[in-house]
């Protein structure tokens, strides 16, 4: 696969690993948070931690939109799907996402709710055209990457007068979450030790560009390196972060220059701003209510807004108290630190969202790393 295989080269990786080992001074520890699940996936899938020196530690951030979706939003979606007139379209990742009390869309479907997996918002449009008498609701989730396709769908629905189609919007914004992590002193200093830098989002950044990270770097003095999702991309970004730390710099650097520019994708941003506007706040699993971190449909598109159309009530659901998702999403704990990990909570019976998506920190650990007890390096 072009533009993928080249960035998975074993020989280069070993060279890069040695370079990181050489440049990461042995007298200090480096703690980098990869914000995105895509990076977490690459780290686990290719066994990158095996290649990194012991004093370079990766902390898994909240970068999976399923993991950060609170149980309340799943519960709301289940209630919506239970309405007889509604056909709910969802991305496959969401099917097992846990709501409260063992609820999930998978379970609602098994009990008779009309829930369809889609691969694309284009599928939802097709479906709405096929069943004009049904209320087809698209359960929209995702960061800036996944928001423009939802915006396009709404604009097509408007143009085609698809009255039956609407959106249950759960789109969230990455920089706001990073800001929230950095602003909170508990999060900034995990176990009393500061995060030294961020591996920044890949595909989110193709849309928003690198510019939105610049104020963060200014405000908090932490380097951010935007990186691709291939394993060599991640390793190069780590090397770049080590160098910034060593040199006392804190800049936004762009490792992923083949797909990311400073300005991002203007057309995609325009589509989004046509259709969506900021919510005052939005709940993130693990981060709580984060100001200006979510999107909703603009008033002009209220007809396509499922929350308005079906008078959906906001719900509040307490997380399972034993679940450490919250700390894990903040980078404060690792999956193996959770008592439920691998016993009560497995990918078949997920308790927290980190176990749901295979990109979730707990699921990635379970699938790719659950034996490496020896590698569990607790924070000092």
């Amino acid at each position: 696969m072009k533009y993928a295989d080249e960035f998975r080269d074993k020989t280069i990786a070993q060279g890069l690993a040695r370079a990181i080992g050489a440049e990461a001074g042995p007298r200090r520890a480096y703690r980098f948070m990869e914000f995105c699940g895509g990076h977490t996936h690459a780290i686990s899938r290719y066994g990158l931690e095996d290649l990194l020196p012991a004093n370079v530690r990766m902390i898994h951030g909240p970068g999976c939109p399923v993991c950060v979706l609170p149980a309340s939003r799943i519960d709301m979606a289940v209630r919506l799907a239970e309405r007889p007139e509604v056909t709910l379209c969802v991305y496959g990742d969401l099917m097992r996402a846990p709501g409260s009390q063992g609820q999930s869309l998978m379970r609602a479907k098994a009990l008779g709710a009309d829930i369809r997996m889609v691969y694309s918002t284009l599928d939802a449009i097709r479906l709405a055209e096929q069943v004009p008498t049904r209320e087809v609701v698209f359960f929209a989730i995702g960061f800036e990457t996944t928001t423009p396709p939802t915006a396009v769908m709404v604009r097509i629905a408007e143009k085609k007068r698809l009255r039956g189609l609407s959106v249950f919007c759960n789109h969230v914004l990455t920089p706001s979450a990073m800001h929230s992590i950095l602003e909170n002193p508990k999060m900034r200093n995990i176990g009393g030790v500061a995060i030294d830098g961020f591996v920044g989002p890949a595909h989110v950044s193709t849309i928003i560009g690198t510019q939105p990270y610049e104020p963060l770097v200014e405000q908090f003095g932490k380097p951010i390196v935007i990186a691709g999702f291939e394993p060599l991309d991640v390793m190069q970004a780590i090397l770049m972060l080590v160098r910034q730390v060593n040199e006392g710099r804190y800049e936004v650097e762009n490792q992923y220059s083949r797909a990311v520019t400073r300005q991002g994708n203007r057309r995609a941003k325009d589509e989004v701003s046509q259709v969506f506007e900021l919510r005052e706040q939005f709940e993130w699993r693990g981060l709580g209510l984060v100001p200006n971190s979510g999107l909703k449909l603009k008033r002009a598109y209220a007809g396509f807004d499922a929350e308005a159309r079906f008078a959906m009530h906001e719900l509040r659901v307490a997380d399972n108290p034993a679940c450490e998702c919250c700390a894990i999403l903040r980078g404060a704990k690792r999956p193996v630190d959770c008592k439920l990990f691998g016993t009560v909570c497995t990918p078949e019976t997920p308790v927290g969202s980190c176990m749901v998506s295979s990109e979730g920190a707990c699921a990635a650990y379970w699938t790719y790393g659950r034996v490496r007890d020896d590698q569990v390096r607790r924070l000092s």
């Binding site: 072009k2 996936h41 396709p149 396009v152 849309i207 190069q236 220059s257 083949r258 589509e271």
Partner: protein, 78 residues
């Protein structure tokens, strides 16, 4: 997160649609989100949409840099 795959545009269709191909797989996607695409361009595909064009020059530059860093790493400095 944001699973996305590089693919080459093999055909431009009406209504902002296009066919991309990857290793014997072809997929009809929307190119509504990316300006000025031509057959032969490579794009990142996410949930059935092209997100951005892959810049071949930048890709080459990154690869060269990676190779350089990799070889540099081969002879440990410290």
């Amino acid at each position: 997160m944001c699973l996305s795959v590089p693919a080459k545009i093999s055909k431009i269709l009406p209504d902002d649609m296009a066919i991309v191909s990857i290793d014997g797989v072809s997929l009809e996607i929307s190119i509504a989100l990316v300006e000025e695409l031509d057959v032969g361009d490579n794009v990142l595909v996410h949930v059935g949409y092209a997100l951005s064009k892959i810049d071949p020059t930048e890709a080459k530059r990154t690869l060269e840099l990676l190779q350089e860093l990799g070889s540099a790493g081969r002879e440990p400095r410290s």
